[in-house]
Structure formats: C-alpha cells, structure tokens
Amino acid sequence: MGLLTPLALAGLVAVGLPVWLHLLRKHKTTPLPFASLMFFERRTQSSIKHRRLQYLLLLALRAAVIALLAFAFARPFLHSRLAALAGGPKLTVLAIDNSFSMRDGDRLARAKREAADVASKLRDQDKLQVLAFGSQVHVMGDSAAAIQTIQPTDTRSSYAELSRALRSIAQSSRLPVEAHLFSDMQKSSLPANFADLRLGESVRLIAHPVADRRAANFAVESVNAPRRVYGSGKARVEATIAGYGTDQVKRRVSLVLNGREIDSKTVDVPAGGRAAAEFLPADLPFGLNRGEVRIDSGDNLPDDDRFYFSVERAEARRVLFVHEGRNQRDALYFRTALEAAAESAYALDAVPVEQSGNLDLHKYAFVVLSDVGSLPASFETALRDYVRAGGSLLVALGRESALRNRVPVFDEAVVEPRYYGRDGALFQSAAWLDAGHPSIHNAQRWDDVKFYQAVRVNPGAARIAARLGDDTPLLLDKQIGEGRALVFASTFDNISNDFPLHASFVPFIEHTANYLARQEEGPSNYLVGSYLELRQAKQQGAAVEVLDPKGERALTLDEAARAQNMPLTMAGFYDVKRPNGRHELVAVNADRHESDLDMISADTLALWQNTAQGPQNANSGGDAEAPKTMEFWWYVLIAVLALSIAESLLGNHHLTVDQATE
C-alpha cells in the first residue's frame, strides 16, 4: 500500500479537536428533581457508565471521520498484488493453446479437460474468461461451457501474443488476474525478444503442460516449386524433410499431383537433421495443379507429414516488339534478355513498324516501340485504345523517335536529343534510381552503364523512375486510362548505350516485362497466418471469390466486394477468382515451427512467470508498463460518509438527552 499525496496526512492533527471536546472540556450534569425515588433502584447506576461509553463511542466516531478524511485526501492505493492477497475477487483466465502442434495425440482434449477442472474449482466471487490462442488470441466466452467450443487450428502459437493479451486484460479488468496456461509449452513459440513475454504486475501465470516429454516428429519442412511453368518447361520440385528429436532413419517421400502419386523416393534422414528430395514431374498438365509432398512418418502428428504447393502450366505470353526495319539489334538484345530471365514466360514477336498496321494488339501481354519514327495512324490509334483499355506499352527513344515532337501514346513533348560525345562529357551514368519502382526493384546498380545518347522528354504527370547525371529523365512511368506506358529515354541496341552488355540489363527487362504484363510471381505456397492480397485499390467493387480448403466460401458478400486481403487460417488449397477473371490456386501450409515439439525449460518458464513480480526488464524499451496500482480513496470516502451518518445520529441522540435534562 502507498499514498499518492502523503502531505494530506497532516490533516490528522485535526483529530485533536474531538479529543479536546470530549476529554478536556468538562461536562456538567444537571440533576433532575423528582417527586420520590421510592420506586427506583440503585442498580440503574450502570446506565451512566453506558452513557459515558456512548460518549466515548461518539468521540471514536468523530476521530475516525477526521482521520479517514485525511487518509482519503492522501489518496491511498494498493498494489494489485496486495489486493489479490487480500482474498478479494479475481479474474481467472483459462488460456488454451489450439495451435497446430496441439493436434499431436490428445493434447487439446487433455488441455480442455484440465481447464474444465480448474473452472469447476472457482469461487463464486471470481470471474472467468476463456481464451483460445494460436498466432492470435480469441476470447471464447466467460463460462466454462466455452472451453468445449475450442477447436484445433493450423496456426502457430505465440506466447508473446498471449502475454500481450493478458496485459491488456489486466489493465482493463482492474482485478488481479490468475492466468492458467494449458499448452504443450513449445520452445518454438517463444518470441525472439524475451521482453515480449512480460506479464502485467497483477497477472499470476500458472502453467499446465499437456505434453509430458519431447516427442519425436518428422515433417515435410518446405517445398520449393515454381508457381508457373510455361510451355514445355519442366517443374523442379525440391522438398526438405526434417526430423525433430528423431534417430537416423530412412523415410519414403512421395510427390502427389492432383491426388495421384507421381513419383516417390527414399531419403536417409539423419538424427535430428534434414534430408532433401528432388522431383522432376514430366507430365505436368496444363492449368492449375494441386501438388503435395508426403512422407510416411508414423508419428503422432500426421498433419505435418504433407506439404501443399500449387503449380500452373501455361502457354508463354506474347510480346509485340515494333522496331525500324533496318535495326535488328535492339530486338536481338531484348529477346535474349527476356528468354534468359523469365524461363520462356514470354515469346517475342518482332515486327517492323511498316507491318504493324493490321495487328490485333489484345493478344499481347505488352507492346514495345523500339526507337520508331513515324507510326501508321491506324496502328497508333489502335495502340492508344489498347493502352487505355488496360494494356501496357514500353517506348524506347533513340535517334528516330527524337525527330518526332511528341512521344506516341505517352503524349508528352520531346524536348531535345542529347548526344553526350559531342558535349565533351563522353557519356552519362544513371545518377538516380527509384528503387521503389517495379522495374528497378531489386535491380543491380547501373553505375557502370554508359549512356551516350538520350532523348529528353518533358515528364509532365509521369513518374520519373531513373535520371541521368545531367538530370535527364531516363525512365518515366505514366498511367493512361486503365493501362500504363513506360518511356526509356535511350535504346536497347548497344549503340546509344552499353546497357545490354551489363548484367543489370536482364533483371531490368525481366522486371519491366512482369510489371507491364501484370505478372505477379508469388510463391507456390503460403504459411497459415499470412495474408493473401485480393485486389488493388482501383479494383474496388469487383467481387473476389475465395473457397477455403473445406470448399466453403471464405468471404462474406461485403468482404468479397471490398476486402483488400484476407488471412489464410487453415492448411490446404484456397481457390481464388480475382476481379480480372484470373483463377488461382493458393497452397497454404502450417508453420513448420509447430513441428518442433521441444518444450520450454523449467528455468525459462519460471523466468516468464516472474516477469509479473520483479522490476521490469531493462531491455523492454520505452513501453515498460507502469506498476499497476489500485486506488481506493473512494471506498474511504464512503466509509467517512457512513461514519458521519452514524455520528450525526448518535450526536443528535446525545443532544436530545441534554435538552431533556435541562
């Protein structure tokens, strides 16, 4: 207990006032004459002592009122731990781990059984709250019946998240919290920073381990497979088999595609180690394929013995490359870079500008105008419509295009061509790159690329992604209608620059092609708990349809129309139909940290429990929680009020007596 304003205790001096009134000031008693005392007895003498006692009671009441008033103004408080020790009501939190690892044997059933046992022993004055936690904490209810509603999930358990929830509950409830943790106590559930486990001062953590020992467990730890395979390309599937607490043993690994086992191998898994298995399925069908790598482990946790992945076989997407008829070099360099990078994802159709009049542009993923002078009017009109409807265009500017006043489709003025050899500078380098632009993202540095010629274009409303040393915009990006146009202020022909000869050219072309073709290269599988992006901001209103692994709709109608992303909560395959009509298959797997069933040591557990008692961890940073105190001055004031009423009644009684005697 403590006092926030101890100076107010100086008011205790006022207790002397009633003492003076009662003890130091002489009371005079006036005898009351009566006709005869014939019918009275001497034994009534004790009544005066009783009256004196009543006076002493009045004195005590008055002194108590003043003392408590001073005490209330001193703002006393109790540490919530003391309040708990006082035997008052408390909040009992039953936190039940329902993460993926609790599927091992009967761990979850045992946890629920022990939780129900604890709930049955609660006192009437105690409150109950049932939590289920994995990667997130869910409040299941405030009755013991809520325990039975907890179901196993595929999420990864997080003790840091549980500690954060307990701190929040302790702060909001104003009651001492007794948290019972029913978990398999996985070491892998501990956070990287121990300070994240910090409990509130009024939280008492009681652990109920539901795993008696470390269990050996095999798991398919990861699968590395391409998300898409184009044309006749082969998909290489690499799987890693991990053993946790296991002896050296051979395990059979099989590859399953669309429910049919394609291939199998036997690998030698070292004791507590990992082994790799590689598959090259030859007959991967076109379209979306449900892939799965399985092992025959024979352990108590069979759910981590399979690993889902999705792979799609698709035709290569076509790219229209329009160039001047006499210049073949730029098409050569561009095609080479594209084929080298994108694993035959794109097929380049190089067309001289003279033959571009009657082309159907909508079958192309994007169009490249490589230093073209004049365009056929019909082609330019078709190109403009194509871009506005959502198509993409890459324009490379060189000597031919510098003769035009405006960049076609991009509709910005050509300011001047810059020939750096004539200016005495010999060449320019890329002085500034916007790393946030998809074309340049993760690209190698362009420092040693020499630009001899460039065409300065008025950027207008376009985004500048790269600049040369003389501040000439090198790469401009502009949204036109639903589509986009990119302007590269030089050429791809190894004449205006030596960019095609550098290693950074290939990733630039690859990223630019993917950016223009809107080709998102996501992973072939996700972890439970991660988020899947459903749409971009401009696609608001178009519905996304998602079927979860159970075949049920994962989104409500409102979410389907508005949600930007959704959490992936269970292992399996999600069917996603995006607003643009594309159909995707998203493979989701439980976090393999859950497969390591190694338990927290007793010392670590004791340290965790002691975070509620000792001083806060010095490494916890600036968000250290202040010691929780419970002020009770209002209770003292209520007591003052009650004592004042009693004092008034008793004092009034004495006043009546005095008047009667007078």
Partner: protein, 295 residues
C-alpha cells in the same frame, strides 16, 4: 385570590353536576345534598306496608280509610354535613413536569370542594400537613369561612417529607362530628400504612375519599436517556436509565396504585387517581360519575 382557585369553567362544571344523585354523604344542604337515611322530615319518599313494631304515628290513616290497609309513609331526612379536607403539602407535592405542579393541582381541587361545600351551606374545614400539621381551619358554615379556607389553602407551601402516621393521630381529635373527609396527597408511602392510618377516620362514620394526585411523568416517565434524579424530599440522587423508567418503574407505580386502590376499597374508602395532566373538572366529574355508579 378567589379567581385563582375558582376557575369559572371548573366551578360551572361542578355546579352543573347533580350532587344529590352522585354522593352518599351523611348530611345534606337543603335541595342539593340528600341523606341516604330515611327520617322524620317533610319530603315524602314512599309507602311501605305496616309491620308490627312500626311506629303507629307514621301510619297514613287516610289510606287506611280508603283501602282498609295499613301503610306507613316514609320521608327523606334532611340535614347539614361537614366536609374536612386534608391537604398534603409535603415536598414531593411540589413536583410538576408541566405548568401546574401537584400542589397547585391539589389546591385547585381543595378550593373547588370548599366552594362547593360553602354553596351547599355545609360546614367545611381544612388541615394542611406534611410530617406535621401546618395549618388547621376548623369546620364551620359561618359567614367568611370560605375565605378563611381559601386563605389557608393559598398559604400552604411545600414542606418536608410526608409522614402519615404522625399528623393523622391528631386528625381524629378534629373530627368530632360525622361528615365527609377528603384526603388529597401523592401517597408516597406503603399502601397498607396509608390505609391503616386513614382507616380510623372511617370508623367514626365518616365517608373518606382519597384523591391520589400524581404528575403524568410520575405515572409514565418518558426519559430518552439516562438521567440523574434527585428525591425532592430526601435530596438523595439516583441515576436512572430510560429502560428502567419505561419498564420496572411503571410496573412498580402501577402496582402501588392498584394496591392502594384495592386496599382502600377493602377498608371502605373511596379512591380516585387524579392525573395533573388532565383537567380538574374532568377529574371531579369522573369521580362523581364513579360515585353515582356505586349508588
């Protein structure tokens, strides 16, 4: 002085009562007081059949002449009576919890009775006593007797404690003639002692009436807290709790009143409790009503 004692309302109330129908006193004032004895007088009372031994002088011969039956005539006797008031002026009589203390109330009562007797041409006397005889006015019906009596009543002051036995010895000497003896006191003495002391007055053919004057606070004390009481006669002090006053004391005073009432009745004495909280005329009227009922 006269106005102080003879409150017009009280006097009118007493005069309006039919004293003839309510009292059984030995003597009468003509037209008002009538003797319960049948005697030789002018007022016819009834006829009664003659029986051997009756005085032949009382036979109504006119009736015999008409009916040949012997009847004798009976007449109501008419006589004067003597009223003697014994007024207790002990210290305890000065107690009062309101405007009128017991002694004042007893004075009003005695004065009313004296005036009443004077109006009836009865002889009235007064003895004021505490443990001794303070004052004595011999019974008389002479002119100026009323003023002497009222003067003596006015002079009565609270004295010392009451001792019934000591003054009552002398009272017997003062009552040579049959009459009405009224004793006004608060009777703080054992009932048997009171009755034993007063009873000899009855033996001489007197009608004795005991007026027990008590304050409401004496009958039912209302103390809200313990109090220190001082005895007005002995000056002794006692601390009394309200619980005792409400319980045990009331039980005792009620038992005292009841014992006095019973023993007085047993000795042929009339007893009436006068609560000083009640109007004087009401008390008298109630007493006279009781007397009427007894007839």
């Amino acid at each position: 002085m006269l106005q102080r004692f003879l409150d017009p309302a009280t006097l009118a109330s007493i005069s309006g009562l039919d004293l003839v129908a309510k009292t059984v006193v030995d003597g009468f004032i003509a037209g008002l007081h009538r003797s319960p004895d049948y005697g030789f007088s002018q007022e016819f009372a009834e006829y009664r059949a003659y029986t051997p031994g009756d005085d032949l002088r009382r036979v109504d011969w006119n009736v015999f002449a008409r009916s040949e039956r012997l009847y004798i005539k009976r007449y109501r006797g008419e006589t004067n009576t003597q009223l003697l008031i014994l007024l207790d002026a002990s210290a305890s009589m000065s107690y009062g919890s309101h405007a009128v203390n017991k002694l004042d109330y007893a004075r009003f009562l005695a004065a009313s009775l004296c005036y009443l007797a004077h109006a009836q041409r009865d002889a009235a006397g007064l003895i004021v006593f505490d443990e001794n005889v303070q004052n004595y006015v011999a019974p008389s019906a002479r002119q100026g007797q009323l003023f002497r009596l009222l003067h003596a009543i006015e002079k009565a002051q609270p004295g010392t404690r009451t001792d019934f036995a000591k003054p009552f010895v002398h009272f017997l000497d003062f009552t040579r003639r049959r009459g009405l003896v009224v004793v006004i006191s608060d009777y703080y003495e054992r009932p048997d002692v009171i009755v034993k002391t007063v009873e000899p007055l009855r033996f001489r053919g007197n009608e004795v009436i005991l007026f027990h004057v008590l304050d409401p606070q004496e009958i039912a004390p209302k103390f809200s807290a313990p109090v220190l009481l001082t005895d007005m006669e002995t000056s002794g002090t006692l601390e009394v709790s309200p619980e005792y006053a409400r319980g045990e004391y009331r039980h005792r005073i009620d038992a005292h009143i009841q014992a006095l009432r019973d023993q007085a009745k047993g000795a042929g004495l009339d007893y009436f409790l006068m609560d000083t909280g009640r109007p004087l005329d009401e008390g008298l009227r109630e007493y006279l009503g009781v007397r009427q009922g007894r007839m």
